[in-house]
Symmetry: C2
Subunit: 308 residues, 2 copies
């Protein structure tokens, strides 16, 4: 597989992204990476001459806090767009960026096009679980101006289920709606709409789930309004930060597997990326603060995703 990587996206770019790429390649001798960057990067970054790496240059990098529409207008030839053009032109099988997610989505729609004008580009995020495939959370609201529209969400739900099934081998995964109660009449009008749509046509939809059951459910796919999904995902990250404190507790040896999982792997770095649905081409978005470990994990996901 060939993965196109935005080397300039993310809070710790380009150093941490490049480090992640090199770590990934050590264990993947057959994969190829195309690093998309600007001419402004210090030369020594690319003093690599690595047989699995090629570099493509673009005029601009998009900042993490830039307004997506504005950046698109003012910086047409940027590293995010560059990765997507490589997918569009079939020079790469998947695009990956840890950059400005609004800009990635806007450029994905523009360069790759929507699969269907009635769909909605949405991000699937994965929560690592102990001894089983991760939990898919759909959507996690990457768009700044967030609106929950049940019909648009429903239109991309089948694609989400299909991606999950193929990535993790779970056939007919159980689907639940994240809500403030288990009753069908709970939540906003849009929550009730999508509940009805899912009940009517997805036999593996099993109703609402509340926040306290999220980490203990047997379900595989959780549908949320993206604003809540985004906040939930970020809150889960902070749990891991709390748990890191246990590491500093010297009298305690963590040979218990479940505790080790919570401390070491219950973390966004374990999966590292979120596939974008609804567009014609494979795009994976990384966390803005990605470490090299997160980049390495995301590239593993890119390869699996490019294969399905």
């Amino acid at each position: 597989m060939k993965i196109a990587i935005d080397l300039n996206g993310g809070d710790r770019a380009p150093e941490e992204i490049l480090k992640g790429c090199l770590e990934f390649l050590k264990n993947h001798p057959r994969e190829k990476l195309i690093l998309c960057t600007t001419k402004n990067e210090p030369d020594n970054l690319f003093d690599l001459n690595h047989p699995q790496i090629t570099v493509e240059y673009f005029t601009h990098a998009v900042g993490m806090k830039e307004t997506p529409a504005k950046s698109k207008k003012e910086k047409p030839d940027n590293t995010i767009e560059g990765t997507l053009r490589l997918v569009k032109n079939r020079k790469a099988d998947c695009a990956f960026s840890c950059g400005n997610s609004g800009a990635i989505i806007l450029n994905s729609v523009d360069v790759l096009g929507l699969k269907d004008p009635n769909t909605h580009p949405s991000l699937i995020s994965f929560i690592p679980l102990y001894n089983r495939p991760p939990l898919a959370v759909f959507d996690v609201g990457a768009l700044g101006n967030y609106v929950f529209n049940a019909e648009l969400y429903f239109a991309v739900l089948h694609e989400t289920v299909d991606i999950y099934t193929k990535l993790y081998g779970v056939k007919e995964p159980e689907i639940k709606l994240l809500n403030i109660g288990t009753e069908s009449w709970k939540g906003t009008a849009e929550h009730k709409n999508i509940y009805r749509m899912m009940s009517d046509s997805l036999y593996n939809f099993t109703g609402n789930i509340e926040g306290d059951e999220l980490l203990f459910t047997d379900a595989s796919v959780i549908v949320t309004d993206g604003l809540t999904g985004n906040i939930v995902l970020k809150l889960l990250e902070s749990f891991n930060v709390l748990l890191q404190n246990f590491r500093n507790f010297k009298d305690c040896k963590f040979d218990n597997n479940y505790l080790n999982f919570l401390i070491e792997d219950f973390n966004y770095e374990t999966i590292g990326g979120a596939p974008l649905t609804g567009v014609n081409g494979k795009v994976v978005i990384g966390h803005g603060k990605s470490s090299s470990k997160a980049v390495r994990s995301a590239l593993e996901l890119c390869v699996k995703y490019a294969e399905i």
Copy 2:
């Protein structure tokens, strides 16, 4: 103070509620409790002859899953309404129920009345923090049919800040809006509306906060749309369940205070109740699954709240 308690509300009522009341009274020899219940309770529950307890009887108890409007119509003389009538008639200083929160809110508006027709009854929930006053989360969406209206929220925000200041002695608490990014243009139209309103008139409003900073912020009051607030609060409860696993790890002695806090007190049971704003009278709502420890904590809150 006199606290009116709905003995029939909550998943573990009436036994656990009564147990919590008796535990509370051991340490509060001057407080009085009025237990509101139905005639159907086994007599031995009230074979108490406790000098600080009186019992009032009502015709009905409201089920946890009943539709609030329907229960109000079909069960007019119920134990929830009973606690509120005692507050209305100044026979009690605060009402407390762990029952159907929609029914508590509907009955509070009906019996006590709204402070202002332009306000919105909302629940303030408190997240326990280590070595500092808890974090107030406002709102946590107790209404089943949830709509986020920035103007209604803003109207009760001053009351929320006032309650927080008086309960925990934090003057001019810092306020933040829970959102999907720190930029002012992030979130739904209503998130942007309330952001603007708070920026314009609350000098201690310091902008958006993302999910991953929630447990680490210096702010004291977090404003959310209630649906997200509800899911976040419940998810936080499940963290504590994960942490309970550490207890079973035999080689590990938890003499570290912060770890003890996370395991023992980072839990809804530590605060136990959420004040309802916007109504003429003091009402505290408990968690449906309240244990006796949670009831005891909620009664401590009721007394403090009744005093302010």
